[in-house]
């Protein structure tokens, strides 16, 4: 109970730090840090979404780059061809990503793990080749598309600092929504399906419906992240939406730890920072990345956050055990 009283203090401190971060970066002359944070935010949203699908509901997706692409291209194309203000295009594109997710998830919900991963890979590849060879070149094919930054109530988010606050707010909203969902009847149904799909059906849960729901929600998250990406970078090309991007999402999720709010945050931030750091190795980037990935998989199968939690749990239990034997 004491913990609960303390918690708001920590929360308020965290909020202050997050709000002040751009100023801190500017003060130390590390402007680049703001941009890194902007990317981190959108990755956190994308990976949190994937975690709803896999960490909670137990469905793998190796093709989430497709939803990232639908969000990004959807928003850019709606703006370019229909002149809809950007923030609305982002919302429409995100809903579109979720709808496509639901359509794919329905037949895919019957597939077991390995075949679901193949199906999602195939879906990702189909979307990728559509970007590359679109009818009448509406996606700009290999060249890609340029676009504008977000305009929020007449206020342009063209600077990294302004995008930082937009990203922070979006991340907070998406994480809050995730917390609310997983701590409800819906979240319980998802976890029940992950733990034992047959028993979940026997308990009156419409397994197909909830699987489709998890997949669509997850596509919604990743789709929105894609739209954020498009208007942060202001350029999109097919290279961003390959199989490697899907694998990157999965890596971030597993790196942090699945089935939690904090895990994907830790994973997205760590893996994004590592890949940014590896840029200096240029031609050995993938080699080091692959080796690192392999080491982490073999050494920390529970993810960084997961392993930390396990360790904390063990320590706590030791403490409790000690108390009990003392009493």
């Amino acid at each position: 109970m004491e913990k609960n009283k303390k918690l708001p203090v920590a929360k308020i401190a965290l909020c202050m730090v997050l709000l002040a971060l751009p100023f801190l970066f500017t003060a130390v002359g590390f402007q680049y840090g703001v941009l890194v944070c902007c990317f981190a935010f959108l990755y956190i949203i994308a990976v949190s979404g994937l975690d709803i699908d896999f960490g909670y509901c137990g469905q793998i997706s190796m093709g989430h780059a497709a939803f990232f692409a639908i969000g990004a291209y959807g928003s850019v194309m709606l703006h370019q061809y229909f002149h809809i203000p950007i923030i609305f295009t982002m919302v429409i594109a995100t809903v579109l990503a979720a709808a496509v997710g639901a359509v794919i998830a329905y037949p895919a919900s019957k597939l077991v793990f390995h075949f679901l991963s193949l199906a999602t890979i195939a879906f990702g590849e189909i979307v990728y080749s559509l970007l590359l060879n679109s009818p009448k070149g509406v996606t700009g094919n290999a060249v890609g598309m340029f676009t504008d930054s977000i305009n929020l109530l007449g206020f342009s988010l063209s600077s990294n600092e302004s995008f930082y606050y937009f990203g922070l707010a979006c991340t907070a909203i998406f994480l809050m929504a995730k917390w609310l969902m997983v701590n409800s009847k819906v979240g319980r149904a998802w976890v029940a399906i992950r733990e034992n799909p047959h028993a979940a059906g026997g308990m009156g849960i419409n397994v197909t419906k909830y699987k489709v729901m998890a997949f669509a929600v997850s596509a919604f998250y990743t789709g929105f992240a894609g739209a954020m990406y498009a208007h942060l970078v202001r350029y999109i090309g097919p290279d961003t939406f390959t199989q490697k991007q899907s694998v990157m999402f999965v890596t971030m999720m597993l790196f942090g730890g699945t089935g939690s709010i904090l895990g994907p945050i830790v994973g997205a931030v760590l893996v994004f920072s590592i890949t940014e750091g590896l840029r200096m190795f240029e031609q050995y980037q993938m080699l080091i990345y692959g080796a690192l990935l392999l080491v982490v998989i073999v050494a920390l199968p529970g993810g960084v956050y997961g392993e930390m939690k396990k360790l904390a749990g063990k320590l706590l239990q030791k403490g409790k055990g000690g108390e009990k034997s003392a009493a």
Binding site: L180, V191, G201, I205
Partner: protein, 257 residues
């Protein structure tokens, strides 16, 4: 007063390849009674259960529950209709807490939709609070309240069996199917189970139970159905069944464990 039939199964058939796992079985079960199904190993009891609960679809015949045809429905629809079940092999959600397992059992009775759950609005909050309270009551009912926030997988074997039953009861079923609930229980636990079953009956829940323990079955069942090689061999009160020469022959000649 006319006794009301809750579950009417007529001429049920199901074959796997050439094997007739359920062969023209007819059973009528009255409301608020403990109905037992016995039979030697491989008599098709679990297969029979799986047709009532929707895991298998029968080839022919009908299952009418509470005046509504339910054969061919999906498991979740059958649960919604008011039939809960437990499993022969423990099928709990191991990484969820004990209370969450019970709350998953309540799933079809909770009215909140996706957006209520997303927004945690007043309706959803009230419903969740009530559900939690009810789950605690149910856990109290079987003596698991103190473990409410423990992981289900951490419970002892007997406790896990009890949790399976409570999870089934959580959906306020009219009928509960118990598939070998006493399997692996010691004699004290079996006595407790006996008491528990009667308490469940007092709550107005009809019970259909499959069990190998003859003593328990003869003691608690109001009516017993005997299956052998997928066919119904006999039915009646425990005393009648025990005297039935065909039943005796099946058990003596059969492969009783």
């Amino acid at each position: 007063m006319v006794k009301r039939v809750l579950l009417e199964i007529d001429n049920l058939c199901l074959s796997f390849g050439g094997l007739k796992a359920t062969n023209d079985v007819t059973m009528h079960m009255e409301q608020k009674k403990i109905n037992g199904i016995i039979g030697p190993n491989g008599a098709g009891k679990t297969t029979f259960f799986n047709q009532i609960s929707g895991v298998y679809k029968p080839d022919s015949g009908s299952i009418v529950f509470d005046g509504k045809r339910i054969d061919g429905l999906k498991p979740f629809q059958i649960n919604e209709a008011g039939i809960a079940r437990t499993y022969q092999v423990i099928n709990l959600f191991k990484k969820m807490s004990v209370i969450e397992n019970v709350m998953v059992g309540m799933h079809p009775r909770l009215k909140a939709n996706f957006f209520d759950s997303l927004l945690h609005n007043k309706k959803q909050k009230e419903e969740e609070a009530k559900a939690r309270e009810k789950a605690l009551d149910l856990l109290d009912f079987v003596g698991l309240k103190e473990y409410a926030y423990a992981q289900a997988g951490a419970l002892s074997y007997g406790q896990q069996r009890l949790l399976e039953i409570v999870r089934g009861l959580a959906s306020d079923p009219k009928l509960i199917l118990l598939d070998e609930p006493a399997a692996g229980m010691n004699s004290t636990e079996k006595v407790e189970l006996n008491v528990l079953l009667r308490q469940i009956l007092e709550r107005g829940v009809t019970i259909l139970i499959v069990e190998h323990d003859m003593k328990l079955m003869m003691d608690i069942s109001d009516r017993i159905f005997v299956l052998n090689y997928g066919k119904k061999l006999a039915e009646g009160t425990p005393a009648e069944v025990q005297k039935n020469p065909e039943v005796i022959a099946a058990y003596l000649g059969g492969d009783e464990e």
